[in-house]
Every structure is written in structure tokens, then in C-alpha cells.
């Protein structure tokens, strides 16, 4: 594990920090909504004490809204926990299809902030590979950053995973302005250490508007 961090250096820490900050912002939003809803219940209660009359349905509706935010926070915290534990093991067997679904939920807020929707297509069968979940997530993020810069009209980035002869492949699709977005080298200096660690390769199909990330079945072999 130490050796892996030596290779990744500050980039890995920056990724961890960026994701943690985004999660904390999202939790703050949930807390802000709960705060306003409980404040509104308090306002209604004070006005009721002063003789005003409110439909009891309003209280029920506010309780439901608070419940929705609590479930939202629970999902955010579950994803945060999965992210934090992705560092635990240098290599682990994962179902890539499930992992992509997790990545989509995890990065959704970043996409929303750019006015982009992420759409993952579930694979028909399980796609088990042995890899480093944290470094894979970091590499998916770098690909996704380019993919979001390249998303065409409709602003949807499609994600899918499929089996290949040597392992598995993640595809980022619908990148209509990929040629224009590729101003610098990609994969560049940020991505290369991760590709080396994961024994992965990136292919770019400018005409089809796709980035393909090829992963081995077992990065430890």
C-alpha cells in the first residue's frame, strides 16, 4: 500500500480532499433543508399557540419532507463510507457493474453542478475483476472530467461496463465535442501513474465520442 501511495503522491490526496469537500457540502445542504423544515414547524406551532389554525396535513407533509432528507443523508453517508473504505485493501475483487453504479451516484453532484446527467447502463451479468477500488475510482474521475467537458447537446454522459477477452472495459459515451475538449495530452501526467498501478489502458474514439478504459481481470497478475 505504501508503495502505491509513493507512486500516486499528492494527486491521490487531492482527489480524496476534493471528494470529501463535495460530500460535506452536500450534507450541509441536507442539514439546511431539515433546519428550514423544523423552523417552519416551530413557526406554525408558535402561531397556533397565538390562535392561528393550520391544516394538520401541513405538519404531516413537513414530517415527510424531513424523512426524505434523512434518507438522502443516509445515502450520502453510505457512499462516503464506501469511499473511505475503498482505501482499505490494495486489491480487492469487485463487481464492476455495481462499482460503476456506485461511481455514478458518488459523482452525481459534480455532474449536476455542470448541468450534466450521468446515465449508467447496467451490464447483463456480473463483471468480477480484482483491482484497487480507490485508484480505480480516481481514474474514473479523471476520465469523467474529460467526458463532462466533452458532453454534447442533451448533456448526458453514458457509462457502461462490459467483459473483454483480457478483463473488462468501462465506456464513457455521448462525448460529442471530444476532439475539441482534448486540448492537452490525455492520458497525461495525472493519469499515467494510475494506469500503471491498475495495469489499465485508455483508448479514445474521437469519431464515436467515446473514452474506453480497459482493465485487466486481475491487476495483481
Amino acid at each position: 500500500m505504501n508503495n502505491q501511495w509513493d507512486i500516486i503522491g499528492g494527486e491521490g490526496l487531492q482527489f480524496f480532499g476534493k471528494m470529501s469537500a463535495s460530500i460535506s457540502h452536500e450534507i450541509k445542504n441536507v442539514l439546511a433543508i431539515i433546519n428550514e423544515n423544523t423552523g417552519l414547524i416551530e413557526d406554525y406551532t408558535i402561531m397556533t399557540e397565538k390562535g392561528a389554525h393550520f391544516d394538520p396535513g401541513k405538519f404531516k407533509s413537513l414530517a415527510e419532507k424531513i424523512g426524505t432528507q434523512i434518507r438522502r443523508a443516509d445515502e450520502i453517508v453510505k457512499n462516503m463510507n464506501a469511499f473511505a473504505h475503498s482505501i482499505d485493501e490494495p486489491a480487492k475483487s469487485i463487481d464492476l457493474s455495481d462499482f460503476l453504479e456506485f461511481a455514478q451516484a458518488f459523482f452525481a453532484r459534480f455532474a449536476v453542478m455542470r448541468g450534466i446527467a450521468l446515465e449508467s447502463k447496467p451490464s447483463e451479468s456480473s463483471l468480477m475483476i480484482t483491482t484497487s477500488p480507490f485508484f480505480l475510482l480516481n481514474l474514473i474521475w479523471f476520465c469523467l472530467e474529460l467526458a463532462m467537458d466533452s458532453a454534447g447537446s442533451g448533456k448526458t454522459v453514458g457509462l457502461s461496463a462490459r467483459k473483454t477477452n483480457t478483463g473488462a472495459q468501462i465506456r464513457f459515451m455521448g462525448l460529442k465535442t471530444l476532439g475539441k475538449a482534448l486540448s492537452g495530452e490525455f492520458p497525461g501526467e495525472k493519469e499515467k501513474p494510475l494506469l500503471e498501478l491498475l495495469k489499465a489502458e485508455i483508448e479514445i474514439e474521437q469519431e464515436r465520442g467515446e473514452i474506453m478504459l480497459n482493465l485487466p481481470g486481475d491487476m495483481a497478475r
Binding site: A21, K28, A32, I33
Partner: protein, 119 residues
């Protein structure tokens, strides 16, 4: 006092607007930059309360664009940053003098609104 609330969390701005109306403040709300810019074409607001992180452009940038349309409008920024210091570090250059960290205390918000209008 007439204000405009801008945050992509509809649940947050709609509830905050209702609570402000109970306190005698007329508050409209929108959930996007585009709607905020449209809104000021037809309505006159004393001030706008803007989320710093809204989709597509930042709240600070939206503030600049609103200011171009109505130079008299005052601003307060709401932020989901973890702490005051965290926000100050990133916003001082942008001139975001008045801000509150979420979750916002409504009485403190009203106090800040009054201060912005006095200034």
C-alpha cells in the same frame, strides 16, 4: 423589503421564503441562474440571497451578473462550506462581504439583510 432567494435546492428556498413571509419579508425564489437573471428583468428586488454553489455558474458570478442588471441590489451569499474560515479563504477576492454558512439561522439572516440595506 423584497428579496430574491437563489439555490438549486428547491425545498430549501421555498421553505425559507415561507418563513420569511411570516416575518413580513416578501421573498421570491428560483432554483437556477437563468431564472434568477430572468426574474430581475421584470421585478425589482432590494437584495438577493444566493447559494455560492449553483449549477453551471458560481453564485459569486451570478451576483456579478445581477449587479450589472441592477447596481442597487444588495447581496448575501449562503455557503455549504464547512466553516467561516473555509469560505473566507475562497471568497475574499470575489468581494463576497456578506455571507452565512448553512444551515442558516433565520434571525441572523434577517439581521444581515438589514445591515446590507443600511450599507
Amino acid at each position: 423589503m423584497k428579496i430574491l432567494l437563489v439555490d438549486d435546492e428547491e425545498e430549501l428556498v421555498s421553505t425559507l421564503a415561507e418563513r420569511l413571509s411570516f416575518r413580513g419579508i416578501d421573498a421570491d425564489w428560483v432554483t437556477s441562474c437563468e431564472d434568477a437573471l430572468k426574474k430581475v428583468e421584470t421585478e425589482k428586488y432590494d437584495l438577493a440571497v444566493l447559494d455560492v454553489k449553483i449549477p453551471r455558474i458560481s453564485g459569486i458570478e451570478l451576483g456579478r451578473r445581477l449587479k450589472e442588471k441592477d447596481p442597487e441590489m444588495g447581496f448575501i451569499f449562503m455557503t455549504g462550506h464547512g466553516s467561516d474560515d473555509d469560505f473566507k479563504a475562497g471568497s475574499a477576492e470575489a468581494g463576497a462581504e456578506y455571507y452565512l454558512v448553512k444551515p442558516v439561522n433565520i434571525e441572523l439572516l434577517i439581521e444581515k439583510m438589514k445591515k446590507v440595506l443600511e450599507d
